[in-house]
């Protein structure tokens, strides 16, 4: 079986994604690197996830598909501009690596991690979720179809169970 990260890259290519937006993120790092090396994609490092939504709107105005790769902590940064997906009604796809789920080491990740599905839903984003490697390809493919064929704003939550729990290797006393 493929590495699920290879599956994500393959689906992005199959759906002719041309612009890939990201911030530094360990969970997405392999996909980001594959996109950077791709001849058919342009990757943009963002200063804040907030840029990703209007970038995607601009790309769509110009006839290109895009994806925003971010972490759950970045979702909060996007919320007002996420309203653009509703106002302009344009296809929007984001893949979100989750933090702050059960098992998380870093207490600072819990508030936004736990709030992520709720705030996305509050903004009218269709939220999908995957926690098994073998389901990644189909889930991301369905998300891309809902976005680019169905005209929806779609988020796929890549659950912490899938990505692995970050462990700093220390026990707290």
């Amino acid at each position: 079986m493929n590495d699920w990260r290879d599956d994500i890259f393959q689906v992005l290519q199959d759906h002719e994604i041309k612009q890939v937006y990201h911030v530094p993120d360990a969970g997405h790092s392999k996909v980001i690197e594959m996109c950077q090396k791709s001849n058919s994609m342009r990757t943009l490092a963002l200063t804040t996830e907030e840029e990703g939504v209007p970038l995607a709107a601009g790309a769509w105005l110009g006839g290109q598909r895009s994806v925003l790769l971010m972490q759950s902590s970045g979702v909060g940064n996007t919320i007002n501009l996420m309203g653009l997906t509703k106002t302009l009604r344009f296809p929007f796809l984001t893949l979100i690596t989750m933090r702050g789920e059960p098992g998380e080491f870093n207490s600072w990740q819990y508030p936004m991690g736990q709030g992520t599905p709720k705030v996305l839903e509050a903004m009218g984003v269709l939220v999908m979720s995957v926690d098994k490697a073998e389901d990644v390809k189909q889930t991301v493919d369905h998300a891309a179809r809902s976005a680019f064929n169905g005209g929806q704003a779609v988020a796929v939550l890549l659950r912490q169970k899938l990505i692995g729990i970050k462990d700093f290797g220390k026990k707290r006393a």
Binding site: A59, W60, L61, G62, L84
Partner: protein, 203 residues
């Protein structure tokens, strides 16, 4: 230094003779009314909200349409909200993107409170930080920046915004004025669809 340039005739000059090769984004509020006053057209994308989003939207569009000229016209406070986006622009170096910031040193839509580009120590209600967006743009890595204050510089400004190799950043100091609202259609989906229809031949 008191600004003397008036934004409405200025924007009219900037957009004069706009053809199908010019894609225009107007930031929320006054810039939206300004580009609409110059003549509403399908290849204008006037924003009614999404503060902070105008420049990144222009960048996404410029990268998607490298053979068209993309011109972002917006206010100082809209850019200031996500000012770091200038570094994202600089990293991509889109040669077809021009950014024109109309800086009246005020939050004009909400009652002319001082914005950050107002001078420091300018009285209890009119003080800002003296933030210089052209300097910030340069610091973010956009090499071609400039500030325009005089009518005599406007012809060159128009030329630079319309034709010079990008990314081009121009800060234009404009007067504080009370102007009538000149509103384009408000429905975002309609604005998007008419833009794509004119540009791509499909909504």
């Amino acid at each position: 230094m008191t600004a003397t340039l008036q934004r409405r005739p200025l924007v009219k000059k900037i957009l004069e003779g706009a053809d199908d090769n010019l894609l225009v984004l107007g930031g929320l509020g006054s810039s939206n009314w300004d580009i609409t006053n110059a003549g509403d057209r399908p290849l204008n994308m006037p924003l009614w909200g999404a503060m902070g989003g105008t420049v990144p939207m222009g960048l996404g569009l410029a990268l998607a349409q490298p053979t068209k000229r993309v011109l972002v016209i917006t206010g100082d406070a809209d850019l200031m909200m996500v000012v770091s986006t200038l570094a994202t622009v600089a990293a991509q170096q889109p040669d077809n993107l021009a950014i024109c910031v109309l800086d009246n040193e005020k939050f004009g839509e909400t009652g002319n409170q001082a914005s950050h580009s107002s001078p420091r120590n300018n009285g209890p209600t009119d003080s800002g930080s003296g933030a210089d967006l052209a300097m910030i743009a340069r610091g973010c890595g956009i090499a071609d920046t400039g500030t325009v204050r005089e009518e005599s510089e406007v012809a060159q400004l128009v030329k630079d915004l319309r034709t010079k190799k990008g990314p081009v950043f121009r800060l234009v100091k404009v007067m504080v004025e009370k102007l009538e609202f000149v509103m384009p259609p408000q429905d975002g989906a309609h604005l998007k669809d008419r833009f794509r229809q004119a540009l791509l031949g499909r909504p």
